[in-house]
């Protein structure tokens, strides 16, 4: 009788133990599982992060198909007032470029993190690529970047106090300044002024010489009249009067042959 109850008690204890064990095991398992899951998540996150970093680094390489090389010549442009190129300047560059991208593609909001820079050299030159704000593994195409830079080239240049020649985007040619085309070419204006003065001078001199000649002719006419009246007086007047006879005083002038 005792054997049966001990057997039942032993059985119940054993099943109880089994249940406990299974409970513990399941709890452990669940704990383990959750641990595993969290580790996996962590790993995934880490992996993702690493992946994205790698992809990002991988996105920006020299001679990348969608990247551009930038070259700055600060000392050439500014000489005495040249500034140091440091992290902050680089940040400004990335921000300016994000601004340019925002101006070009208005629907997307580009951030500073979308501009990835690599391969900096002491020359001050580096490569950059632009990622899309929606998905960081997607790069913005070369043509869009070029358009964006072209549109805002002036603003980018002024942010760094540089010019098209000292802040070069290799591959993006600066747009040539449209020639200033005045309505009247300035040389015609100068020509008009000079010719006006010369023409006025010619007319003045010609007119003055014509006037002079007329005056001379009038004077000689007057002299002729004078002579005639003088002659008449001599013929009519008395002998002793002795009026000066003009017609014979200028004999030396009449050197006709």
């Amino acid at each position: 009788m005792i054997n049966l109850s001990s057997e039942i008690a032993y059985d119940s204890v054993w099943t109880g133990l089994n249940i406990l064990q299974s409970a513990i095991i399941s709890a452990q398992l669940r704990f383990l599982l959750s641990l595993l899951l969290s580790v996996e998540m962590l790993e995934k996150i880490i992996l993702l992060l690493c992946c994205s970093c790698a992809v990002a680094q991988h996105l920006c390489t020299p001679d990348a198909s969608d990247g551009y090389k930038v070259r700055l010549s600060i000392k050439t442009a500014l000489e005495g007032q040249a500034y140091e190129w440091n992290e902050n300047e680089m940040f400004l560059f990335r921000a300016t470029l994000a601004f340019a991208m925002r101006n070009h593609i208005r629907e997307q909001k580009f951030e500073v993190s979308n501009i990835i820079v690599c391969n900096e050299t002491p020359r001050v030159s580096f490569w950059f690529v632009v990622t899309s704000p929606e998905s960081t593994s997607v790069l913005i195409g070369k043509e869009d970047v070029e358009e964006a830079v072209r549109k805002s080239r002036n603003r980018i240049n002024s942010a760094f106090l540089l010019t098209d020649k000292t802040l070069e985007f290799i591959g993006i040619l600066p747009t040539l300044a449209a020639p200033v085309d005045p309505d009247t070419p300035p040389w015609l204006i100068v020509f008009g002024v000079v010719m006006g003065i010369v023409g006025a001078g010619i007319i003045l001199l010609l007119v003055s010489s014509v006037v002079q000649k007329k005056r001379k002719n009038e004077m000689t006419d007057d002299e002729e009249n004078c002579e005639e009246t003088r002659v008449k007086t001599v013929e009519n007047g008395s002998v002793g009067e002795g009026v000066y006879n003009m017609s014979f005083s200028d004999d030396e002038r009449f050197t006709q042959m």
Binding site: K75, R123, L176, G199, I202, F248, T255
Partner: protein, 610 residues
């Protein structure tokens, strides 16, 4: 009875004062050649060494000829035709030859002034139009022709001349050149409107202004960087060149053309002088001032050329520096013009193949200094390029072109005078036509003929005229002038003339020069010149954009019909000398045979021009 009439011959016009006369002669002698021919000759013939043949030619050839012309004009008081007619009617053709040469020279000379005016009109812009290339048609890049050469060359050859590839392609009249030419002739006319009255006032400005500008340029030029290099290069004597006979020939011809003898203009000018005027001192003054001006002008010219060479050399170095800096990613401005050599050597040692792959230009200051130019090339290409680099370019450009214009204008006076005075003396036009009209007609005819030089091929024709009209005919005329005065009129009579005018007879130096040295020198120069010209078929430089070695100028030979024109240009002026001699001989023979038919009213004593 008494009718006052203008006596048979108007009183001969007179200079207001001696200064006018001297300034006119100096202005005539000092011309564009002093500025753009003499410095070039100095440069290519070994700098300071060239001065020796130049001064020898001045003393033994230039001054005697000058004195002779001034003395004979002052004594006989007539223009070139009248003077030679008085000495002997057989040599009346000399005057005609002088007039024809003066006319031909004045035509192309004024075209050069038209070009100077064009550049002057364009100097009032900022930036100067020859400093940058224009854009091409679809505004994507620069004009191709301009990019291959330089903006300065493009402005000169394309926008100014619109030059054709060779002399056979005439092109069309360039309207802008036509109006510039018209304005140049108008300016000449206004100065000449009242004969020497108006011209004498104009020379106060045109003869003195160039000196003022040259002084300003001198002060500016010697302060430019690289000026001393240019001056050292110019004046370093290379005595070896004296062994080359070409140097002596060029010195003799340069002095001869520089003094503007045999044009007839100097004879005309001195004929308006008072009878007793010390023409010996005048001749010495004019000759020495002319040569001194050449020397004085070459200093700023060469300072500026040295500056241009240094700028070119620095630009070449900066190009190389940029290539090295960009390729090796060295920090900006670490390599400078001063330490370029050390950096280059260091990089070449460490990475020779990479440096080689960069194809760096060889930069040598000497090569830049050797780029010499004379004539229009100096003024319109080299100098304009230098002016761009100077601060305040517009001011310097305006000053330079006004100076060139005054220099040319004062020389034009002499040329026109050489044509007008014989016309007046020969009484070719009836009395009723006033002088102003005659001058106007002359200017109009010259303008119409000069339209040839406004064609696309105009520059080539100017070169033809420049090389051939103003060379052999003048030498021949000068030779006959000396023979006529010294041997036909006689040294004795001429000495008496000079005694009458100056109060003392010419000394042994003048006599020796006139009788022996100068004629011999002239003959030698003439013969050598003709031989050298005849040795090679003449060629010329063309601006041909389709040439494979463009922008170098392509050298082409003159076609046959141009060669025929060249021969005509050399022969037509001097053909009048034998023709007139022949004609007068026949007349004399005929007169002596028809002595029986003497008309009692025909008074031979008054046949000669009074």
């Amino acid at each position: 009875m008494g009718q006052t009439k203008d006596s048979g011959s108007e009183e001969r016009p007179k200079w207001d004062n001696k200064a006018q006369y001297l300034l006119t002669c100096i202005g005539f002698a000092v011309g564009l050649g002093n500025v753009w021919r003499f410095p070039y000759l100095c440069q290519i013939y070994g700098g300071g060494a060239f001065l020796i043949p130049y001064l020898i030619a001045l003393v033994f050839e230039g001054l005697p000829l000058l004195y002779l012309e001034l003395a004979i004009g002052q004594r006989l008081r007539m223009g070139s035709i009248g003077v030679w007619n008085s000495i002997t009617p057989l040599l009346g053709g000399l005057g005609i030859a002088s007039s024809i040469v003066s006319f031909l020279v004045s035509i192309f000379y004024n075209t050069i002034l038209a070009w100077v005016l064009w550049y002057f009109f364009h100097s009032f812009q900022n930036p100067l139009p020859w400093s940058q290339c224009p854009l091409n048609d679809n505004l994507t890049g620069y004009n191709v022709e301009c990019e291959k050469s330089t903006p300065v060359n493009y402005f000169w050859y394309r926008e100014t001349l619109n030059i054709t590839p060779d002399i056979e392609t005439s092109g069309s009249l360039q309207w802008w050149m036509v109006i510039c030419l018209a304005s140049a002739w108008c300016v000449v006319y206004i100065c000449f409107i009242k004969g020497i009255e108006s011209m004498g006032k104009a020379v106060y400005v045109t003869a003195t202004f160039p000196y003022l500008v040259l002084t300003i340029f001198l002060i500016r030029a010697i302060t430019l960087p690289g000026a001393t290099d240019g001056l050292v290069y110019l004046f370093t004597p290379d005595w070896e060149t004296l062994k080359n006979p070409q140097v002596w020939l060029d010195a003799a011809t340069q002095i001869f053309f520089s003094l503007s003898v045999a044009f007839g203009g100097l004879i005309a000018f001195s004929s308006y002088n008072a009878e007793r005027n010390n023409c010996e001192r005048d001749a010495l003054l004019v000759g020495i001032i002319n040569s001194a001006t050449s020397l004085y002008a070459s200093i700023p010219i060469f300072s500026i050329l040295g500056f241009k060479a240094t700028t070119g050399y620095n630009a070449c170095l900066k190009e190389n520096i940029m290539s090295l800096t960009n390729y090796f990613e060295i920090s900006d401005q670490n390599i400078t013009v001063e330490n370029y050599k050390q950096w280059f050597d260091h990089l070449n040692e460490t990475f020779p193949d990479k440096v080689f792959s960069l194809n760096l230009r060889e930069c040598d200051l000497q090569t830049f200094l050797d780029q010499s130019a004379s004539g229009t090339g100096l003024a319109f290409v080299v100098f304009t390029e230098a002016v761009i680099e100077m601060p305040g370019s517009q001011v310097w450009a305006i000053l330079f072109f006004v100076m060139l214009f005054s220099l040319g204008l004062s020389s034009m006076f002499g040329n026109i005078e050489g044509v007008l005075t014989p016309i007046n003396d020969l009484k070719l036009v009836p009395k009723c036509i006033p002088n102003e009209l005659v001058t106007a007609i002359l200017c109009l005819i010259s303008f119409l003929v000069a339209l040839v030089f406004t064609l696309g091929s105009g520059n080539y024709w100017v070169e033809v005229f420049n090389s051939y009209v103003g060379s052999v005919p003048l030498l021949i005329i000068a030779f006959f002038e000396i023979i006529a005065v010294i041997y036909i009129r006689g040294m004795k009579t001429f000495s008496e003339d000079i005694y009458f005018m100056t109060g003392r007879r010419p000394n042994i130096f003048w006599k020796a020069c006139w009788m022996v040295i100068s004629p011999v020198m002239l003959l030698v120069v003439l013969v050598a010149y003709v031989i050298i010209q005849a040795q090679t078929h003449p060629t010329y430089h063309t601006w041909n954009p389709d040439y494979e070695r463009f922008p170098q100028t392509q050298v082409k030979p003159y076609p046959d019909w141009v060669f025929a024109i060249i021969l005509l240009l050399c022969v037509v002026p001097v053909i009048s000398i034998p023709l007139v001699a022949f004609y007068k001989l026949i007349c004399r023979v005929r007169n002596s045979s028809s002595r029986a038919n003497l008309n009692p009213y025909c008074n031979g004593g008054f046949q000669a021009d009074t």
